[in-house]
């Protein structure tokens, strides 16, 4: 949905709504908060003695589109190097995209100048994967959280700022006394809470969570996830939750997008993605999630993909997954499948998404139809 569409749909009220958040939208349909449209992030390669661009580029993110609605959690999964984190950073303009659009409440961030962007950052924040390197080791936790409050003038006067810092620390489940401590005096889980408090200091609407729990112990992971859910309920936050495994994402997400080699291959409601995945890559990812029941686990069939992810420098033509797909047909190598709605908001980019239910059968009887490495079932 573009800005123009929305204006047509909602009439003049929309413009006011984007300017002044208090005006409610008439319909109960969820309002898009972030619209990502054909987002591209390419890293040009440089070579030779002079380090001139060679014309080649690593296509870390290559045409990603999705919409995040207000108040929802969109999970973004995929294996290492598929471009999930880059997508998150490109949305926040921490990496300026090579192409495409990112609209936040209708305002295109890609076109925003650095100064405009600085003001916009208040509304969108990032939670980091590594709670160790994401906090300045030479700043006390209190100073760290107070800094954005002061710089953006969110509270005026040192007493008000201090109160706000303590309020934020309590909000994330830390003692207000911790304000005077330094990052190295905290455990990983506590540091992650500090990171969350620092992000919340800006009173954002939208948080990109870049694998916020993958560096933590399993027992702490649950605590942090629960905290994030609680905060979402309380503050009405919208999350883009990036992770490399489906297990964590399943719990927190309303909808899930699956990325492979710089593209989103499937996007659906969390429950639907788990019960009826429409893309063979999603199926293989799902089959890798262990089931906490030894009997079922024993009989669980795993679809193990052969080979490695192709280089993002020179991705395969056609469908990017065809080199590893157990159900690829010649068409897959020739033509790129469109990312289409297969029904009720379940998007997938696969020529054979209708036949996907037969995938297990196909995989067992015929290995890769293109003669590529065959999957072990």
């Amino acid at each position: 949905m573009t800005v123009y569409d929305r204006q047509l749909a909602n009439g003049a009220a929309t413009k006011e709504a984007t300017m002044n958040k208090t005006v409610p939208v008439a319909s109960d349909a969820p309002r898009p908060l972030v619209e990502v449209d054909d987002l591209k992030v390419h890293f040009p390669l440089r070579g030779g003695i002079l380090g001139r661009p060679t014309g080649e580029a690593i296509k870390a993110v290559d045409g990603v589109s999705f919409t995040i609605f207000e108040g929802e959690t969109l999970g973004l999964v995929g294996e290492s190097g598929c471009g999930k984190s880059t997508t998150g950073r490109a949305i926040l303009q921490l990496r300026r995209p090579t192409g495409g659009h990112v609209r936040f409440e209708g305002k295109d961030l890609v076109q925003a100048s650095d100064d405009e962007m600085r003001a916009m950052r208040r509304h969108m924040q990032l939670i980091y994967q590594d709670p160790y390197s994401s906090l300045n080791p030479r700043m006390s936790v209190g100073d760290m959280i107070a800094e954005p409050i002061r710089v953006h003038g969110l509270r005026v006067g040192s007493v008000a700022v201090k109160d706000r810092v303590q309020e934020l620390l309590e909000l994330v489940g830390l003692s207000p006394d911790f304000a005077e401590r330094f990052p190295h005096e905290f455990s990983g889980g506590q540091r992650q809470r500090v990171g969350i408090a620092r992000a919340l200091a800006m009173e954002p609407k939208f948080l990109v969570c870049d694998e916020p729990v993958s560096a933590l112990d399993v027992s702490i992971q649950a605590q942090v996830i629960n905290l994030m859910e609680r905060l979402q309920d309380r503050l009405g936050l919208t999350y883009l939750f990036i992770a490399h495994g489906l297990a964590v994402v399943k719990h927190i997400s309303d909808r899930i997008a699956v990325m492979y080699l710089g593209k989103v291959v499937e996007l659906a409601k969390a429950s639907e993605l788990y019960t009826s995945p429409k893309h063979p890559y999603t199926r293989s990812l799902l089959s890798a999630v262990p089931i906490p029941d030894p009997k079922v686990e024993k009989s669980r069939k795993r679809i193990i993909l052969q080979g490695d992810v192709p280089s993002p420098l020179n991705p395969p033509a056609g469908c990017r997954f065809h080199t590893r797909c157990p159900m690829a047909v010649p068409k897959c190598a020739a033509q790129e499948p469109p990312f289409v709605d297969t029904g009720s908001g379940h998007f997938a980019a696969c020529w054979r998404s209708d036949e996907i239910q037969q995938m297990d059968v196909i995989a067992e009887s015929k290995p890769n139809m293109l003669g590529g490495p065959h999957p072990i079932v």
Partner: protein
């Protein structure tokens, strides 16, 4: 969660210690640093109160008292003109400390800022700054300082400027490499994402994390600055001859009389050594104190 806040508000520990108590506990934890600090303090006081402390006029020539060894009236002996060495040392502390400190401060600060900008922004600006630094580094230290003083004219101010320019490229190099490492840290990106200004990120987030090499540079540079001032004086481009400076006392005629009258060299040498030691101890302690990880509460 509210319960937590209530109890914590009641039991909030009185962590704030008085400034004096803090300083004392720091001195106990860092005895070497404290010694260094005391040495520097003593020398600064000596320099400040030179007119009252010096037993003789440092410029007074006494032809009946040439090259006398240390004795009851001239504690550190006299030089080839019969001038009292102790008095000259006391007066020389003024020039030597002033020149050394100012040159190091000026040189490392400008070098650090340039290195910080160079490392953080990178690109063409980085190349430009680094090529200028390369050019400065291509000259031997003393030759560059000489050329600068010769061009600017010989005065204490110009000696300070010349020495600062000589010290600057090292600082720029070292801080640049630290800045290159630090700027890739996620907390710098986080600061950017918090909408902080570039200058704020540079000086509040990047610079404090480059502080360890900065302090080492500054303390190590001090000794060489005092000695370079000496060499410049010796070549007639530093402090004009009759004025006492430690460097000047070590050079010149001293070298000819050193074997017969070792006190000529021992005392100024000792003074320079002490000051350099003092700054090194103080610098080491400062580096630890400024690092929250090493500073135990």
């Amino acid at each position: 969660m509210t319960a937590v806040s209530d109890t914590s508000a009641a039991t909030r520990s009185p962590r704030k210690k008085s400034r004096l108590a803090k300083t004392l506990s720091l001195m106990r934890k860092k005895p070497l640093g404290a010694i260094g600090g005391v040495i520097i303090l003593v020398f600064c006081l000596v320099a400040l109160f030179a007119p009252w402390l010096a037993p003789f006029d440092p410029l007074k020539i006494d032809s009946s008292n040439l090259l006398t060894p240390p004795n009851a009236s001239n504690w550190f002996g006299t030089d080839e003109f019969g001038r009292d060495i102790l008095s000259r040392l006391i007066w020389g502390a003024r020039i030597s400390l002033f020149v050394g400190l100012s040159a190091v401060l000026l040189g490392t600060t400008t070098g650090s800022v340039l290195g910080l900008i160079s490392g953080y922004f990178g690109g063409k600006l980085d190349s430009l700054i680094q090529r200028v630094m390369d050019t400065l580094m291509a000259f031997p230290m003393l030759v560059l300082a000489l050329a600068m003083v010769a061009a600017l004219g010989s005065s204490v101010r110009n000696v300070i400027i010349a020495l600062a320019v000589v010290i600057m490229p090292n600082a720029a190099r070292v801080i640049r490499s630290s800045a290159l490492t630090v700027r890739e840290k996620p907390f710098v990106e986080a600061a950017h994402n918090l909408g902080l200004s570039t200058w704020r990120i540079l000086f509040r987030h990047v610079l404090p994390n480059c502080v360890a090499p900065f302090i080492i540079l500054a303390t190590a540079g001090l000794g060489s600055a005092i000695l370079s001032e000496a060499s410049l004086s010796f070549l007639g481009l530093g402090t004009p001859p009759p004025e006492p400076s430690w460097g000047a006392m070590l050079s010149g005629k001293t070298q000819r009389y050193m074997t017969e009258a070792p006190w000529l060299a021992i005392f100024p040498g000792l003074a320079i050594t002490l000051v350099v030691f003092g700054f090194n101890f103080l610098g080491d302690a400062l580096r630890d104190i400024l690092d929250p990880k090493l500073r135990s509460r």
